[in-house]
């Protein structure tokens, strides 16, 4: 299965992936309309310091702790992709606690959100990968 991988060697810490993620999941067709003067809730986040940066997003584990721990069954695996049904999420944040990579976060409504590889939005392919200027984020089979 293709997954999003990051290569910290080429990550510039420009944070474009965060904005492309937020835009892709906004459901809107214009980035300025979607993101201007708004706090963004991206599903990928850049971590690091002056020396190193890397993007953190869901690794779509084969044996995911988040799915096991979800008390409402909001998290599930669909063809290897860990997806979230936000209607079912009650915001208990257990998944955030158990994710060993820190890849799950809360959205503006305090409901859990995570990377679903842009399979459920109109981007068609991971927007973070498409917009990365230095191939630091790639979508590939490994």
């Amino acid at each position: 299965m293709k997954r999003v991988f990051v290569n910290e060697k080429w990550c510039l810490g420009c944070h474009l992936c965060e904005y492309n993620c937020a835009f892709a999941n906004s459901g809107l067709d214009n980035m300025a309309k979607a993101l201007k003067d708004k706090k963004i809730y991206p599903r990928i986040r850049i971590e690091g310091d002056e020396n190193i940066n890397y993007a953190v997003s869901c690794r779509h584990c084969t044996d995911p702790m988040c799915v096991k721990s979800c008390i409402t069954g909001a998290l599930s695996i669909e063809d290897g992709v860990i997806t979230i049904s936000q209607d079912k999420c009650v915001g208990c944040l257990t998944c955030i606690l158990v994710c060993p990579y820190g890849c799950i976060s809360q959205n503006e409504n305090s409901v859990a959100q995570k990377c679903e590889l842009c399979l459920k939005n109109s981007a068609g392919e991971p927007a973070c990968v498409k917009g990365c200027p230095n191939n630091a984020i790639v979508y590939e089979e490994r």
């Binding site: 060697k9 080429w10 510039l12 810490g13 420009c14 944070h15 474009l16 965060e18 904005y19 492309n20 835009f23 980035m31 300025a32 993101l35 201007k36 003067d37 002056e50 020396n51 917009g131 200027p133 230095n134 191939n135 630091a136």
Partner: protein, 501 residues
């Protein structure tokens, strides 16, 4: 302020309706032009620091930015141009020589644009390169004057060492130090994939790049940086750099600030010391001296590597080339006055040297007239911008072309011409690690491969249109060229007819 103040050259125009304050421009500008003012919650710009490298423009996700030339001008004056006056101001303030980078930007004649290529019609068929074989391979090196046979009548096949290029294009010299590790890696990998050569420049060869040796030309310049036996034997050929088109008669100076880590090791000089290449080679004051160095290098490499002598195109270039052709060199590389540089005194760059087109035409003619054209191959550089420039150069008598500015453009260079600051936002002309990593060689090398492949297609198209299916048949074939907007004298030097003739 006051008398020292010079109004900024560019303006940063931000479309407030589009700006989402993502801060990408701020994080990506090494010149620190952009800044988010948290109190005002707006992105501010200090255009005085902007060099118009277009990095912010290219990365802005909402296309909210553009950089425009400032329209705050001094009173118009056809004699004293805005830039001339400002240069006087700068020098009155600094007392220093003005420095510039990349090639001469002034509106001096570009003869490539005044030369037109022929095509076949009716009486001689053009060739479709997509249907019929087209040969673009060339061999660089000394060629035998005549066919020689042994006592059994068999042809003697021993040739002087040659470089085989599948397309008559090489990446010209750019040193590690003047450009980044990742830029070098991109060039090396692209050269290997394309089967052509890149050139180390005078900065030595980084240990990681010895594996690209068969596609490397190693340079020996007046500073002799990084030159040792293994280095000389690592490459496909050795180039003696006598001069550079952007700064003929001038040496080089890589500031100590750039001599860090691997650059220092590769150049074999202490960290922090300035790398000063003298203007002359201190052991070369005549063709005989040059011959000694040519043969020293041949001895050091067991006569297995062709020796290139690179000179800048200057006034007596034909006589100089004639001397070099007799020095034992296998290849002469001539660099025209529009060639690029990482840093050169502005006055030198903009006023010294001659156009490569004229230099090439006169050198090829002189070597033919003297019957020594076979002694050497001719490689020309100094702003070869596109495939048609290559075709015109070949028809004027070149064996191959050197490209560097076009190669850097493929790597992301936006020709802002501030390489000398060492803050290249595209990760090319810098040694700052956070900037160097902006050029991912996986992307860079592919773009170089794409560029040369595209040019090769175009060269074949142009050849096919002329009804020529082998680049050898185009070489020195000036009948395929016509001049426009040229004086009698210019036509005479090019030895071509005017269009319509």
């Amino acid at each position: 302020m006051g008398i020292e103040y010079i109004y900024p050259e560019f303006e940063v125009v931000r479309n407030a309706d589009r700006c989402i304050k993502c801060g990408v421009c701020q994080r990506q500008c090494a010149n620190e032009v952009h800044k988010l003012d948290e109190d005002l919650n707006v992105m501010l710009s200090d255009e005085a620091k902007c060099v118009n490298c277009q990095r912010c423009v290219a990365l802005c996700p909402t296309r909210a930015l553009k950089i425009v030339k400032s329209d705050c001008r001094l009173r118009e004056n056809a004699n004293w141009s805005d830039s001339t006056i400002k240069e006087v101001y700068k020098q009155a303030s600094s007392g220093a020589v003005l420095l510039s980078s990349m090639g001469n930007p002034n509106p001096l004649p570009v003869y490539w644009d005044r030369i037109l290529i022929n095509a076949s019609q009716v009486t001689n068929p053009p060739i479709d390169p997509l249907r019929e074989p087209m040969e673009t391979a060339v061999f660089l090196g000394k060629k035998p004057e005549k066919i020689q046979r042994d006592e059994n009548g068999k042809i003697k096949c021993e040739l002087a060492p040659q470089i085989k290029l599948p397309v008559p294009i090489m990446f010209s010299a750019m040193s590690y130090g003047s450009i980044s590790y990742n830029a070098h890696e991109s060039l090396a990998r692209a050269a290997r994939e394309l089967g052509i050569c890149y050139n180390t420049g005078e900065g030595g060869l980084h240990k990681d790049f010895y594996e690209y040796g068969p596609n490397t030309i190693v340079q020996v310049a007046s500073g002799r940086f990084g030159v040792h036996e293994n280095y000389l034997n690592a490459g496909a050929a050795i180039e003696i750099k006598m001069g550079q088109g952007a700064k003929p008669g001038i040496g080089g100076h890589l500031p100590g600030a750039k001599i860090v880590g691997d650059v220092s090791k590769t150049r074999m000089i202490p960290e922090g010391s300035d790398a000063i290449s003298p203007a002359p080679h201190h052991d070369i004051y005549s063709i005989e001296d040059l011959r000694q160095l040519v043969f020293s290098l041949k001895e050091a490499t067991n006569y297995k590597k062709p020796i290139i002598v690179k000179v800048a195109a200057v006034h007596n270039i034909a006589a100089i080339a004639s001397g070099i052709a007799r020095s034992g060199a296998d290849i002469i590389a001539i660099d025209g006055f529009r060639g690029g540089t990482g840093a050169a005194p502005t006055r030198i760059r903009d006023n010294v040297g001659i156009p490569i087109e004229l230099a090439l035409a006169s050198v090829d003619q002189r070597l033919r007239d003297e019957g020594i054209r076979n002694n050497v191959s001719l490689v020309v550089g100094g702003s070869i911008r596109c495939a048609s420039d290559v075709v015109k150069a070949i028809a004027l008598g070149a064996d191959a072309c050197y490209i560097a500015t076009s190669a850097l453009l493929a790597l992301g260079c936006h020709l802002c011409r501030t390489c000398q600051t060492g803050k290249c936002n595209w990760g090319i002309a810098t040694q700052r690690p956070e900037l160097v990593k902006r050029l991912n060689p996986d992307i860079g090398y592919q773009r170089l491969v794409n560029l040369v492949t595209a040019w090769q297609h175009e060269i074949k198209e142009l050849m096919g249109a002329m009804g020529i299916n082998s680049i050898e048949a185009l070489k020195g074939n000036r009948l395929m060229l016509r001049g426009v907007n040229m004086t009698e004298k210019e036509l005479e030097i090019f030895n071509i007819s005017h269009a319509g003739e």
